[in-house]
């Protein structure tokens, strides 16, 4: 019942780590922090190249954030990486006060977001981070769908002053974009007029798969990549509402506070159309194989297809 394994997959974490090394050459003041997960987050690549500007502070996520803020307040661009559950969860109040309240130029790059962490289980499967981070004033939030977007987004965040949160998955993902990324822009990955499927992160590939299947039946589906969660491309969502009449949102995140909730509030206030959210219900995850977990928690291609069908029925596009 899982989607077939996609052909060309790349590691978003490697893309991040390699980009850090490139940025380190052009920005000699840049500093990188990690909290004992540098092999997993791939900051180890920067650490090997620039050991004097790399600080592994051990299992100390809250104070990694405050120290990063201290260096940022001294004029530097600082990257700080760990798993999403620690970056957004363990260190939430440090991110809030020391980074956002202080407007510190810290880029939090959190890996292992969402259910696809897999075997580590529910303790480590962070499905609340997008909501926590997008609720913070002054915070930028980005959830790329593939390695090329990760490379561009890492550079864009480096070049944009202020706090930022970049959420990456553990798993390799198929390349689905041309790597174009601009803050506040939701690229249209497929054109369509019967329905819009908007997605973030690992779900973008599934959105494209469902659009392809529906397309075979003559249904025209627009696919939007909502990588720039904040700032959010409200005009693209409102255009989708006007031109396609219904929006299905996919995310590997709690539906309570994620991008589905965001799309629903934007459309409800400005151009009400039917919106459905496919994401994690009000639940913690559990151990399992990454892609099987997505299916188990209601994020399967089949379930997305069913939800899309319901919306198409509401629109009178199918019987």
């Amino acid at each position: 019942m899982s989607a077939p394994a996609p052909p060309r997959s790349e590691s978003l974490r490697d893309a991040y780590g390699q980009t850090l090394v490139e940025l380190g050459a052009s920005d000699p003041e840049m500093v990188v922090f990690d909290a004992d997960l540098s092999g997993s987050t791939r900051t180890v690549l920067f650490g090997k190249k620039y050991p004097e500007r790399f600080f592994n502070v051990g299992v100390m996520e809250p104070t990694m954030m405050t120290m990063a803020a201290g260096l940022a307040l001294s004029g530097r661009t600082v990257f700080a990486s760990t798993f999403a559950v620690f970056a957004a969860g363990q260190a939430y109040n440090q991110v809030r006060q020391s980074i956002c309240y202080n407007r510190a130029n810290v880029k939090i790059v959190a890996t292992h977001g969402g259910l696809t962490v897999g075997g580590d289980g529910g303790t480590h499967q962070m499905v609340e981070d997008i909501g926590l981070m997008r609720g913070l004033p002054r915070m930028t939030v980005v959830v790329p769908a593939d390695a090329p977007t990760t490379r561009t987004a890492t550079r864009v965040l480096h070049d944009t002053r202020g706090p930022a949160y970049l959420r990456l998955p553990r798993e390799n993902l198929p390349v689905v974009t041309d790597g174009e990324f601009r803050l506040g822009r939701a690229p249209e990955l497929a054109a369509g007029s019967d329905l819009t499927i908007a997605a973030v992160g690992v779900m973008v590939a599934r959105a494209l798969e469902v659009a392809r299947r529906l397309g075979e039946g003559g249904i025209s589906v627009r696919v939007l990549d909502l990588a720039s969660v904040k700032p959010f491309d409200e005009p693209a969502i409102l255009r989708a509402a006007r031109e396609t009449g219904a929006i299905l949102v996919l995310e590997e995140h709690s539906v309570l506070t994620g991008v589905g909730a965001l799309v629903a509030s934007v459309t409800a206030e400005q151009y009400p159309v039917p919106v459905r959210r496919v994401g994690v219900a009000d639940l913690f995850g559990e151990s399992g194989e990454p892609w099987a977990l997505l299916d188990r928690y209601g994020l399967s291609v089949e379930r997305i297809g069913d939800e899309a069908w319901e919306l198409l029925k509401l629109r009178g596009k199918v019987q």
């Binding site: 809250p62 405050t66 803020a69 201290g70 307040l73 001294s74 440090q94 006060q97 020391s98």
Partner: protein, 285 residues
């Protein structure tokens, strides 16, 4: 700045500290809310920095080589504001705006509102981490400025405080001076009754700090400790300053109830009567 203070200098600082205490009481009375006890306990430590030890150009707060002062116990903001006013860096009248809508003088210090604030603080256990980051930045630049972090003793119950202290010791940040306002009381009572932090000096030593225990109201001892911290290499310094919560006002001293409370007008009159300006104060402030 490292030379020992002359008796005249000490008298000047004592007069300034007295005036800072008076300003704290006045501003808190007008505000009607704020932290009296911990502002009065930290007054001498802050005054010694702003009037003597802190290398700082008020006309150029962005000077790269300035010393940094991070008020990790951000609720002692009134002491900082009062010292700035008595020092002449902000207008004395501005103290009346404490905690008012639109004021630069937020309930807890805010770097976006007021120059001279290096880091916005308030949630405890975070300012010390930012100070450690600033000291690490100075190390990377080969800079020689001092980074001061002022902590409360209740703040020493917070896990992140010890994370940051551990990092300061690990990285041998010898330009970092941690000042702990050891007044013994927190909001609900005595630290040792609520969650004991002793033996504090031994803990700090175990975290690889040079530890100096001083009377936090004796300006001579304070200046001596600051000088020793500045002269020390290869490890950071922690100054455990024994202080009295509500220092200088008889009915506030040693009373945890005055942690987060401002005096009424009548109470302020009694308090100010106990703290008359010291002679030689004319023309100052």
């Amino acid at each position: 700045m490292d030379a020992a203070a002359s008796p005249t200098e000490l008298r000047t600082l004592e007069r300034a500290a007295r005036e800072v205490r008076r300003a704290i009481l006045e501003m808190l009375t007008i505000s009607g809310s704020g932290h009296s006890g911990g502002s009065l306990s930290v007054t001498d430590l802050v005054t010694a920095l702003l009037f003597r030890d802190l290398r700082y150009d008020p006309h150029n707060p962005a000077w790269a080589d300035r010393d940094r002062l991070v008020l990790s116990k951000g609720h002692a903001a009134p002491a900082f504001y009062a010292a700035l006013a008595v020092r002449g860096w902000i207008p004395r009248e501005e103290l009346a705006t404490l905690r008012r809508l639109g004021s630069r003088l937020q309930g807890h210090v805010d770097r976006e509102k007021l120059p001279f604030v290096e880091a916005s603080t308030g949630c405890l256990g975070q300012g010390i981490g930012m100070a450690v980051g600033m000291a690490l930045d100075g190390r990377l630049r080969g800079a020689n400025h001092q980074v001061y972090a002022i902590l409360g003793d209740g703040e020493c119950q917070a896990g992140p405080t010890w994370e940051a202290l551990m990092a300061g010791g690990h990285f041998k940040l010898d330009r970092l001076t941690v000042i702990i306002d050891r007044n013994g009381l927190e909001t609900d009572g005595a630290t040792e009754a609520i969650l004991g932090i002793e033996p504090l000096a031994e803990k700090l030593a175990a975290f690889r700090y040079q530890v100096l225990e001083i009377d936090g109201h004796n300006l001579g001892e304070i200046l001596d400790a600051y000088a020793r911290a500045r002269a020390t290499r290869d490890r950071p310094t922690a100054i455990v300053a024994r202080t009295v919560k509500g220092k200088g006002v008889s009915f506030m001293e040693h009373q945890h109830a005055w942690h987060g409370k401002a005096p009424s007008r009548e109470e302020a009159q009694r308090a100010l009567a106990e703290l008359p300006p010291l002679p030689g104060e004319e023309g100052r402030a």
